[in-house]
């Protein structure tokens, strides 16, 4: 068996042996999204929907390959090249042999399904069109696969240095800002007078169609070349219009594969991972007089230090602080500047998302809390207070500043929503951290941002949805009451709802840790999330 085949076989066996929770979740969600793209294609062919929307679905899939590795830099590769660094072969040869196995992934399956939409578009145009669609599917899939792998390799390389960490953090924050607020400039073009109560919509020239400029731009990007080739075939365009995008994809895929091999070989030539965190504490507790305070203050002090010193927590904190500032840059120049105070609301949600996996990041250090009387009580309250200090207070300060700058008529609504969201985020982060831990390498093994972590996406989506749902309560309740209230009522109601969230969710969090703490510890020790469900198997 060749080395390439051995690597491919090993990768397949690792995927087959699980754990399957994360991959299974990703597969189901991804296949639902892929089915949506196929439905877009079918509706476009039948005339029920304008066909231009298909390129949006295809482009979103392409974007996922690019931003996935950037947003989840600690995700572990299924087959880590570092495992094979001691093989008696040149690093470039090892990387080349590994490259064949990279196609074996859940993402490849999902994307292949989504790209069968090409065949749906081509089906009515005869065998030649179907052949071109099939070639386009393969070429587009190869291109996206190597685009994603290169993005992951570049991010991993950047995170090896402090300066690179900042570059990666800015990149990630920019992508997050675009994800959350990138639609605002477009919406401002479509509904320019919404801030003044105007609801006149600036419509595109063709009813139900994507604006032509956007469609053309998406087809010009490499993520749209496969569909461009298929559309050229179905409209009997010249051979060049069909062949050029296909050739471009193949050449691009080959080039990206070459880059990935070079980057992987470079990583294999460097020393393994950094063995030290390169972080030194400024002062030591023994050199200064002891500070007053009980268990809760001890936990707050531990949390504040950990947020600054833990590489993954620090990266998350930078995102949570930087992304709202970049969102301001996106929203402020538009006619929707009245929406600026709502960025505080997004800041609270982002703070919740980056704090949702702290129990998993702290790993098996949980044992100390489980074996110290009263420690769980102090830990939950201490994590909440630390969140308020690091994210809650800055979020509220930002909201007040944005209200003053924008003079938005919706400032009161935004303030109420932000207060409710901050309370919800503060209470939900520890609760979901205990309920949905993203288990990765244990805390003692994580020395840098490139160290493996679990995938917190599920918990992040959940907390985002929950925070948004609670944030909407103040304006919803006031609207239902029908009363025209002065602005402080919005803030007061938001503060009451936020406080109620903290008061009501603290006890369930403690209770969860007391009841399932041993199982959570066993799951983190073994790296097997299924042990969290099966409490009888909480084993050492």
């Amino acid at each position: 068996m060749s080395t390439s085949a051995t690597f491919a076989s090993m990768r397949w066996r690792i995927i087959r042996h699980g754990p399957h929770d994360e991959r299974g979740f990703g597969l189901v969600v991804g296949l639902v999204a892929a089915a949506g793209v196929i439905v877009f294609a079918a509706l476009g062919v039948s005339g029920a929907m304008h066909p231009s929307w298909l390129i949006v679905g295809i482009s979103l899939f392409g974007l996922t390959w690019l931003i996935g590795p950037i947003l989840l830099p600690g995700s572990a590769p299924t087959l880590d090249p570092q495992w094979f660094r001691t093989l008696p072969q040149q690093p470039a040869r090892i990387a080349r042999d590994l490259s064949a196995s990279e196609a074996i992934s859940v993402g490849t399956v999902i994307t292949a399904v989504a790209l069968t939409s090409f065949v749906v578009v081509a089906a009515a145009h005869g065998p030649l069109a179907i052949l071109v669609a099939t070639l386009a599917l393969g070429a587009q899939l190869l291109f996206l696969l190597w685009l994603g792998r290169c993005a992951a390799a570049v991010v991993a390389g950047l995170l090896r240095s402090t300066a690179g960490t900042w570059v990666a953090a800015v990149q990630m924050s920019a992508l997050l800002a675009i994800s959350f607020a990138g639609w605002v400039p477009i919406a401002a073009l479509v509904l320019p007078d919404l801030g003044d109560g105007g609801t006149d919509v600036v419509t595109p020239p063709v009813a139900g169609a994507l604006p032509t400029g956007i469609e053309d731009a998406l087809l010009v990007l490499p993520t749209g070349w496969g569909l461009a080739a298929v559309q050229a075939t179905t409209t009997s365009a010249p051979l060049f219009a069909v062949a050029a995008p296909l050739l471009g994809l193949v050449i691009g895929a080959i080039a990206l594969r070459g880059i990935w091999i070079a980057l992987t070989a470079r990583a294999l030539r460097q020393p393994p991972a950094r063995t030290l965190s390169n972080i030194t504490a400024r002062s030591s507790a023994s050199t200064r007089p002891p500070r007053p305070g009980g268990p809760t203050r001890a936990v707050v002090a531990r949390e504040l230090k950990t947020w600054v010193r833990d590489p993954h927590r620090r990266l998350g904190m930078i995102h949570a602080w930087m992304t709202p500032l970049l969102m301001i840059a996106l929203v402020a120049p538009t006619s929707w500047s009245w929406a600026l105070p709502f960025i505080g609301l997004m800041a609270a949600a982002l703070g919740a998302m980056v704090a949702v996996s702290t129990y998993a990041l702290d790993g098996t250090a949980l044992w100390q809390l489980l074996t110290t009387p009263g420690a769980i009580r102090a830990d939950v309250r201490g994590r909440q207070l630390a969140w308020l200090l690091l994210f809650g207070v800055p979020t509220l300060a930002l909201t007040v500043v944005l209200c003053l700058i924008s003079q938005s008529p919706l400032s009161a609504v935004a303030t109420g929503m932000t207060l409710a969201a901050s309370g919800a985020a503060c209470a939900l982060a520890p609760l979901l951290g205990a309920l949905m831990p993203a288990i990765g390498a244990d805390a003692r093994e994580r020395v840098s941002s490139t160290s493996r972590t679990g995938n917190p996406a599920g918990a992040q989506y959940t907390i985002f949805a929950a925070v948004a749902a609670i944030a909407i309560l103040p304006p919803l309740l006031l609207n239902l009451s029908g009363a025209d209230v002065p602005w402080p009522v919005h803030a007061a109601l938001g503060a009451i709802i936020g406080t109620a969230a903290i008061v009501s969710l603290t006890a369930p969090t403690r209770s969860r840790l007391r009841r399932s703490g041993s199982a959570l510890l066993a799951a983190m020790e073994s790296g097997d999330i299924s042990r969290l469900r099966d409490r009888t198997n909480a084993a050492r």
Binding site: L276, S277, I279, T280, A281, R282, S284, A285, S286, T287, P290, G293, G294, P295, R297, A298, V299, A301, R302, K305, T306, R309, D310, D362, G363, T364, A365, W367, Q368, L370, T371, T372, P373, G374, A375, A378, D442, A443, R444, R446, V447, S518, L521, A522, E525, T536, N537, A538, A539, R540
Partner: protein, 251 residues
């Protein structure tokens, strides 16, 4: 008239199953107070599982754990107050320095005003004060064992539960840990440790229990168990060593 002193640790019918596998099979064990007690056994024998149940990190399927006269099922906090725990392979708050970790532990346990002196003593005796700015995550294996022991000792428990305290550390660190444990036992404390290292157990422990397949094969003073031989020979005889087969290609 004599006063009956409660055993430091008493296990009665302690059992733990993982699916069909019985990890600990109805163990009865009494560790007298003020004793240096060793549990030895091959990998997977049930040593760590037993210690985890005593530490409250695992719930037994059957049986009871009593520490210093308190039933763990009924008086969990009292038991945890009496115990100092160091488990193998678990993290600590990794982004703190050794001194910060002891301060955090002291405040978490509400130790009071005496903790700075205790922390300074432990850091000095264990030679951890030489790296005041180093985070736990950057500690060597020996330093990690030593700070783990300091955390376990800081509140001056009556019973120390130590899982593999001498595993994979250098002789100097081992000597420092042995010295500290000796002082602890001399002061009336009880040490219950698990280990693979027979010479350490032979040198430090007064009594020893040999566990295999979740059951105690033998228990007694070290002299009784080794019966005139080395503890290592007794261990291999009781556990059973695989037959040696010659591998020609290695010759």
């Amino acid at each position: 008239m004599t006063t009956q002193i409660a055993p430091a640790v008493q296990l009665r019918g302690l059992t733990k199953r993982f699916g069909d596998h019985v990890a600990v099979d109805a163990i009865d064990l009494t560790v007298p107070a003020g004793m240096f007690f060793g549990i030895v056994g091959p990998n997977g024998a049930g040593k760590s599982t037993t210690l985890s149940m005593i530490a409250g990190l695992l719930t037994p399927d059957a049986g009871s754990v009593t520490v210093a006269g308190a039933d763990a099922a009924k008086g969990r906090d009292r038991v945890l107050d009496a115990l100092g725990i160091m488990m193998e392979g678990l993290s600590l708050p990794e982004r703190l320095t050794g001194a910060e970790l002891l301060e955090y532990t002291a405040r978490l346990r509400r130790i009071g005003d005496s903790w700075p002196e205790r922390a300074a003593d432990l850091l000095e005796v264990l030679e951890l004060d030489r790296a005041p700015s180093t985070l736990i995550v950057d500690y060597s294996t020996g330093m990690r064992k030593k700070i783990g022991l300091a955390v376990a000792l800081l509140h001056r428990p009556s019973v120390l539960i130590l899982d593999e305290p001498f595993e994979a550390i250098d002789p100097v660190s081992a000597r420092a840990i042995e010295g500290l444990l000796g002082q602890f036992v001399a002061g009336g404390g009880t040490v219950l440790l698990s280990s693979h290292l027979m010479d350490v157990v032979e040198r430090t422990c007064e009594r020893v229990a040999l566990i295999k397949d979740g059951r105690i094969l033998t228990e007694g003073t070290v002299d009784e168990v080794r019966a005139g031989r080395t503890l290592n020979d007794t261990f291999v005889d009781l556990v059973g060593a695989p037959a040696q087969r010659e591998i020609r290609w290695l010759a």
